[in-house]
């Protein structure tokens, strides 16, 4: 009940006492070739909370999200300056292993992208490649608990061997969340996870986010301000590659400090 009340009433959020920062970024600049996509972004992501990144299209919020697990590395022309620290360790330090980083910082994408394999294989793949389990039963346990945490278990328990691509869009997205959870990450990045889903599937994912933040630090990029208001505790507003404003979600939505933020949240730009 209490959680319900919190979600409905943005102003009363008593638990938003200063939380430890899981990720800190300072003066992050991102260039695609000559074009600068992010300008001097300095933002702290609190632990075990949902942080929403909002802003109009092309504002750099997805770019920032992808910096957090170095998914931008695969783009040849992408160049990054500044520092991003996960638990005090610079993730762009030369001796950082990207594979290990991505095991700690999982990601869920805009379009559900399960592997064209069985549901079981989809979830088991991560633990397998990272050697997290030593026996088949252990692996089965991890798959089951991951699917349960992604609240998909009840729907797929009796058809784990069927292809993951045969599920509905919302189920596929929860399967992708289960796949990310199975690697036991600390942080889960979500890049507009609901933009390809219908309202009912979206509601289920939002519910799930509330449960997940007990154990995981979540960063979500979203186009929907309502969604940001519903699911997040912190909100960061990006505009044209700049971080305009960040803070408690209630604060950003009710008493924005910057004119651009207030224009965006009231629907005047976007």
């Amino acid at each position: 009940m209490e959680m319900q009340a919190q979600r409905l009433n943005l102003v009363e959020l008593p638990e938003l006492a200063p939380a430890r920062s899981k990720i800190t970024s300072s003066n992050v600049n991102v260039f695609y070739g000559d074009k600068q996509a992010l300008k001097d972004v300095t933002l702290d992501i609190p632990e075990k909370q949902v942080t929403a990144l909002i802003g109009p299209s092309g504002c750099g919020k997805s770019t920032f999200l992808r910096c957090l697990n170095r998914m931008n590395d695969v783009i040849d022309i992408c160049r990054i300056t500044g520092a991003i620290e996960l638990d005090g360790q610079n993730i762009y330090a030369p001796d950082v292993d990207v594979v290990t980083l991505r095991a700690h910082v999982g990601m869920v994408f805009q379009k559900p992208n399960p592997f064209p394999k069985s549901i079981f294989e989809n979830v088991a793949y991560g633990p397998k490649i990272h050697g997290l389990t030593s026996s088949k039963t252990e692996l089965e346990d991890v798959v089951e608990s991951s699917l349960k945490r992604a609240s998909l278990w009840d729907e797929v328990a009796d058809r784990l061997q069927e292809p993951g691509t045969g599920l509905s869009g919302g189920q596929q997205q929860r399967l992708c969340i289960a796949r990310a959870i199975a690697v036991q990450p600390d942080v889960i990045l979500m890049d507009e996870p609901c933009s390809a889903l219908d309202p009912i599937a979206t509601a289920r994912i939002e519910e799930l986010l509330d449960e997940l933040r007990e154990n995981y630090t979540i960063v979500i990029v979203t186009h929907s301000m309502q969604q940001a208001a519903r699911v997040s505790q912190k909100t960061a507003f990006f505009h044209l590659g700049e971080l305009v404003e960040s803070g408690d979600t209630s604060g950003v939505f009710t008493t924005p400090q910057d004119e651009r933020t207030s224009n965006y949240v009231t629907g005047r730009i976007g």
Partner: protein, 425 residues
Amino acid sequence: MTDLITKSDGRLKGRHAGERRFKAYGMIAILISLGFLALMVSTILYQGFPAFKRNLVGLDINFDAVVIDPDGNRESSALRSANYTKLARASLRGLFPDVKKRRDKRKLNNILSSEVGYELRAMVLADHSLIGSTKRVWLSASGETELYFKGYISADLPEDQRRLDNDQIGWLDTLAHDGRIQTRFNTPFLTSGDSREPELAGILGALLGSFLTLLVCFALSFPIGTLAAIYLEEYAPKSRLNRLIEVNINNLAAVPSIVFGLLGLAILLNTFGLPRSTPLVGGMVLALMTLPTIIIASRASLRAVPPSIREAAMGIGASKTQTTFHHVAPLAMPGMLTGAIIGMAQALGETAPLLMIGMVAFIVDLPTGITDAATALPVQIFLWADSPERGFVEKTSAAIVVLLVFLIIMNLAAIVLRRKLEIRW
């Protein structure tokens, strides 16, 4: 109210007419190409069909112990060296006792294939009890006899313009009348190697040669081609060098095959001294030729794998290699295999490079390994088409039929593989 049914001005009519015209052009184009294809295939089938039949002459052979085994101890060396041809000729002369002159006897002997001695020897070696008995056996007819019974030699022509004179035609008619001529399916065509005599020439040697050559070609070009494609598509930085390589691979696909043959001759045979005329070298040269096809097809199918699959794997911490080999390459595999099979089918029909590396030699023995001298199907067609004997005309067409059958099988395999392995998402 808008009238959708009757109202039609000139402009609309013109548009409809244009559409109909375009459809008609398309259909005419397809009909023309289909017509040419049908003409070609039917000509080949019509010409090649008789080669799948052969004529046998039934003779009552007296397996005379005096001729076969004068010492009477059934020693195999004696049995091997006996003059069996003499037995067949004696039996044939017995049917036509009027033939006395040396010249006429030779004409009579020409009814039988020069190979009948070997056929009889094989029978005797398989069954010693034949010696001393008399038995009706069926022996190969000569090329001229076959031509006569297949209708290529007409008795209406003046005698000096045909391969058989009046006496020979008379003898053949008598034999046929007595039920001593049989037409059977030409099994030896599919089970023996090449020969100077058209009635004995078979396709198996060339088939085996092609098979071994393609085996070498596939074993080399598939792994090299797919791995090169994977590297270029997934790993290589998108640099100027990479683009240069891409352009050159596309150019290589258009290089005339004889150039590859010359390369094989100069480098593989002359520099490295690999054995001439062998499927090993043939396969290596064809692999060079097939590589660009496989690389281009493989890159296209890798590019068709949605990037979301790569992101999904990378997002849960798979390394580049794990992403590629666990997810991307398996998804691209059907396309890669199709490309490989199409490349192989191309290689199967390739003649020029094989001529350069000496696979054009006249080879009677069946090849047993990749280092045996061999020839290949298209080269066999080339050789037979070049031979002056009338009997090789139908052999040429029959060999083309065999080649086409194999090409169709390979292309069907490509389609079936694609259907089987394709994953939709």
